[in-house]
């Protein structure tokens, strides 16, 4: 039995995300994670000074994965293509990572959140902004201040993700609702 774990930090993050999926956030205990990983209760503190720090790191990982997923959706094609890909991949990510997504965005209400997290949300907003600006250059999106125009898109993304992940809609209807929402968004942005 090695005294040193090898890569405790990664192991903790993995265990934490697993716990996040099965149980909710909030039911997540540092001591329990330590137990699962097979390490003493105080060991995690070497890598995460506080429980919140671990959650923040987990959220950052979530942002990285999200932007990675969203990246391909934003290259090439018409505005309609990009919008379609953006919305669909966003919704997919959220439904597949409900608790993680909730963690990422519940944290941003706290002014004491680490700057990296704030930056990550801004970067995400920047993605939406880029899609709008590109659409305007193509003449497929109405003119106007792009930053204001991007707000409804961000809102639709956030809200739609929330609605579908919640599962209030039966699965069959979900696709219809998704399609309708995309069409709705396109109408809103039409020149």
């Amino acid at each position: 039995m090695a005294y040193h774990h090898g890569d405790l930090r990664a192991a903790l993050l993995a265990a934490a995300e697993d716990a996040l999926r099965t149980r909710g956030p909030g039911e997540l205990s540092l001591r329990e994670l330590a137990r699962e990983v097979g390490v003493s209760p105080a060991a995690p503190s070497r890598h995460f000074r506080t429980k919140q720090a671990l959650l923040d790191a987990l959220a950052m990982e979530g942002y990285d994965r999200l932007t990675a997923v969203l990246g391909p959706a934003l290259t090439g094609g018409s505005f309609a293509d990009r919008l379609n890909a953006l919305i669909r991949s966003y919704v997919t990510f959220v439904t597949e990572n409900v608790a993680l997504h909730e963690l990422m965005f519940s944290r941003k209400h706290d002014p004491s959140a680490p700057p990296e997290l704030i930056a990550a949300t801004h970067r995400l907003m920047g993605l939406a902004l880029g899609v709008i600006e590109d659409g305007q250059r193509r003449g497929e999106v109405r003119a106007g201040p792009a930053l204001e125009l991007a707000v409804p898109l961000a809102a639709v993304l956030q809200g739609l993700a929330d609605l579908t992940s919640h599962g209030g809609l039966p699965d069959a209807k979900a696709e219809d609702a998704l399609r309708e929402t995309i069409a709705f968004t396109l109408r809103g942005y039409a020149p």
Copy 2:
């Protein structure tokens, strides 16, 4: 000093909401609430069997207040008027009750949430649905299955509230973004 408090339940809820405003949710402690109200640590358990039960009750109170605020927005006037009033009053409520709103909607991801809470969210969705259906009757909203059409509205509400309450936008820009989002929504629903 009276042995019985008189209305502990209400006092606890009030203290809880206050604590929710100042500190976040999660930093909310039953024992501390009991202390603030001037009662023994185990007293709250007579009115809320568990901490979650108290939070749920608080969330229900939030739904009641929200629907009360939204009610006036939904009577009379054109579709544009109703939509405008609905979005604005929703955003106002959320910005004035950030933590409460977060509590209300974070809870709905949990399948073990009490039925009354689930019913409350459905009732809220029903409000949006009503606005759409009325708009259709007036010929001011495009034809189509109202339930699908209502999804983008609910999404915009949820997402916009999230964006503005987070405060990412400077206050001056917030009004512009709000106006733009309302116009965007009207275009999306235009026949």
